[in-house]
């Protein structure tokens, strides 16, 4: 490799002076040497150049690169190296010899070929030529495909497949699969697993990508971002769907009530509940001993109910006086007694007909319209003129079902959308 300094050294001195005005300047100023100029002289290393004095010799000679097998004559400029410097004198070939790596080509003889390597699409001649070309072209497949001349046209993938399969077979013959080392086996595996069809389709796909029009690229970007969005929302959607399915199913008790089937077990349970209740601020359970134990006691308790009524100042007994009315009377006067465990009554006045109109109005007007449309569809009149208990109950049952239906439809919409997008994704 020639450096700039080499070239400059090779040029005649006065030539260097004319070419480089900066270099010329100090020579003019040499008549009056003073400090700045001396410094500049040192900077430009002029003395070193001049001190070397002699120009280097270059020769123009002819050589044959040893890596070439054809007798190509190459002429090139070469520095006539001083005899002292032996490293430079070595021929150019040795410099590049390390790059000259022969491709490893597995060898086979006629017998092996006949026994193991025959192929319906390939003659022995063609195979031989393929291996020769492979060696010639240093195993560079595009070059091989370009150089290979065959009677029938062969694609690169066919050649690769043939070459690799033969390599694999030979490798297997050399060392049986059981005796292979790890690296040998991995090489064998790679060779075996070559699939020409897959490779061809892969290339075709890559080539297709090169020729895609702009709008297709845009569309794909949009679809991909949509897909990404769906994937992001997948979790929430899944959980929502799961939730809905759970709602549609009956809750399954995780333990049966069998353990409380005996009266003793029930008493224990009652005691437990009572104990738990005592811990709370507002106690809802009352111990059994007052009302429960009395009737079971002796006949002395017979006159006690009278005593009971005399002490009736508490609301509890007042309520009992309500319950005292006969069932017939209760009905006759339209009195309803709320059983324990039922939901609490609202205070003040309510109208039963409100229970028939209020559930129809949802938070959003869109939802309200949907409810109205579905109600009309199933034939529920807009105004139900008879808000009796049974009618209200039936209506509430309908509205509960309606909620389920609307939830289902909501999920349906989402899933349809997702299906469309996924379908489009398939089509790409």
């Amino acid at each position: 490799m020639t450096t700039r300094s080499d070239i400059i050294a090779a040029l005649p001195l006065d030539f260097a002076a004319t070419v480089d005005p900066v270099r010329a300047a100090p020579s003019a100023a040499r008549a009056t040497p003073n400090q700045p100029i001396a410094r500049r002289r040192r900077l430009h290393k002029k003395p070193a150049l001049r001190n070397r004095g002699r120009a280097a010799h270059w020769t123009y000679d002819t050589s044959i690169p040893p890596t070439r097998r054809d007798q190509l004559q190459v002429r090139r400029w070469r520095r006539a190296a001083p005899p002292s410097d032996s490293a430079d004198t070595s021929p150019a070939a040795s410099k590049f010899a390390k790059y000259d790596i022969k491709a490893e080509v597995p060898a086979y003889d006629d017998e092996t070929y006949a026994q193991h390597l025959t192929h319906p699409d390939w003659t022995k001649d063609e195979t031989d030529r393929l291996f020769a070309t492979y060696e010639d072209c240093y195993g560079k497949w595009p070059v091989i495909a370009d150089h290979y001349v065959a009677d029938s046209h062969k694609t690169m993938e066919e050649m690769k497949s043939r070459f690799y399969s033969i390599s694999a077979t030979l490798l297997n013959l050399q060392t049986p699969m059981t005796a292979m080392t790890a690296s040998e086996y991995s090489a064998y595996d790679v060779l075996k697993s070559f699939d020409p069809l897959k490779e061809a389709s892969r290339k075709k796909l890559a080539e297709g990508h090169l020729r895609r029009p702009r709008n297709e690229v845009d569309e794909e970007t949009v679809l991909l971002s949509e897909l990404q969005r769906i994937m992001l929302h997948q979790n929430t959607l899944d959980s929502e769907r799961e939730d809905l399915r759970r709602r549609l199913q009956h809750p399954v008790a995780d333990q049966n009530g069998y353990q409380y089937s005996t009266s003793q077990a029930l008493t224990t349970l009652w005691q437990q509940l009572l104990a738990a209740d005592r811990m709370k601020k507002t106690q809802r359970l009352r111990p059994l001993d007052i009302s429960g134990a009395r009737p079971s006691q002796s006949g002395a308790a017979a006159n006690l109910p009278g005593a009971d009524t005399t002490t009736s100042a508490t609301p509890q007994t007042a309520q009992q006086s309500v319950v005292d009315m006969s069932k017939q009377d209760l009905q006759r006067f339209g009195v309803m007694v709320v059983q324990a465990g039922q939901e609490k009554l609202p205070t003040g006045i309510s109208f039963a007909s409100d229970k028939l109109s209020k559930p129809r109005v949802a938070k959003s007007s869109l939802q309200t319209d949907k409810i109205a449309a579905t109600l009309t569809h199933i034939g529920v009149p807009e105004l139900i003129p008879l808000p009796t208990l049974a009618v209200v109950e039936q209506f509430e049952r309908i509205m509960a079902k309606m909620q389920v239906l609307l939830d289902l439809r909501k999920v349906a919409e989402k899933e349809e959308q997702e299906l469309r997008v996924r379908g489009a994704e398939m089509g790409v």
Partner: protein, 257 residues
């Protein structure tokens, strides 16, 4: 000793059915001024009534205020117990009448608004319409059920007293120093519940149509609707299964890709 008026009877609810509605007639019609005021074509009566054979409505309802359309003179009409709680007018257009119900004092409840939209034109099926036109009487009413939740003790007492049915009974034996006896002479024992059967059909407008029979009809209709709804839910479920299958398919295909 009477209980404090604020004390309420816990865990009870008393229900009373009553009617809100209107009748309408094409003028001229008996009972309305003839000739009618300029431009008025219909005579109507808006009312709040008890069910026939039910407890006395004045037990709990003391005053009703009807707010008519503001173009009527003296648009706010107030009727005090014992009623009847109704307003008759002539007019040409339908509008919403605001009805304010005032309750018995011992109830301790505030007045409540209900609304009734006047119906002056014939409505319903062709049959119904033909009958309404033939009879020159349109009845548009609905059953309301008022629920007194946890009434005060005093109010509870009046609402469960036998005297509520006195209005249906005939007084007898008005002797000296003796309370009059009330003898019920109707066929059916009065009750706060809906009557089992509708009374004779001619009595529409007097609430005769409201009965358990009618309730059963409504229930049957609703049950049909519920069945239709069940059907739709089934369909949706099936569609959902189908979609899930397709999703899995498509998902599988994409995964394979």
């Amino acid at each position: 000793m009477p209980a404090a008026p604020s004390k309420r009877v816990k865990g009870t609810q008393i229900r009373r059915h009553f009617l809100i509605g209107n009748t309408a007639h094409v003028l001229p019609s008996p009972g309305f001024p003839d000739p009618p005021p300029d431009g008025h074509t219909k005579g109507w009566t808006v009312y709040v009534r008890p069910l026939p054979n039910g407890p006395d409505i004045t037990t709990w309802l003391k005053k009703v205020q009807f707010k008519l359309h503001h173009t009527y003179t003296d648009a706010s009409r107030t009727i005090e117990a014992p009623g009847p709680f109704e307003v008759s007018e002539t007019g040409y257009g339908e509008f919403g009448v605001e009805i304010r119900l005032y309750f018995a004092q011992e109830s301790g409840e505030k007045a409540v608004y209900r609304e009734h939209y006047l119906v002056l034109a014939a409505y319903g099926s062709d049959d119904q319409r033909a009958r309404q036109e033939r009879e020159n009487k349109i009845v548009a009413e609905r059953l309301e059920t008022i629920e007194f939740n946890e009434p005060t003790q005093e109010f509870f007492k009046t609402l469960t007293s036998e005297e509520q049915f006195n209005w249906l009974k005939v007084k007898k034996g008005r002797g000296k120093g003796k309370k009059p006896d009330f003898i019920f002479e109707g066929a059916v024992e009065p009750t706060a519940q809906l009557p089992e059967k509708a009374s004779e059909p001619g009595q529409a407008g007097a609430g005769g149509a409201w009965s358990v029979q009618y309730e059963r009809q409504v229930l049957a209709q609703l049950q049909q609707s519920a069945a239709a709804l069940d059907h739709s839910i089934e369909q949706e479920k099936r569609a959902m299964e189908e979609r899930r299958r397709r999703l899995e398919e498509v998902g599988g295909a994409i995964g394979a890709k």
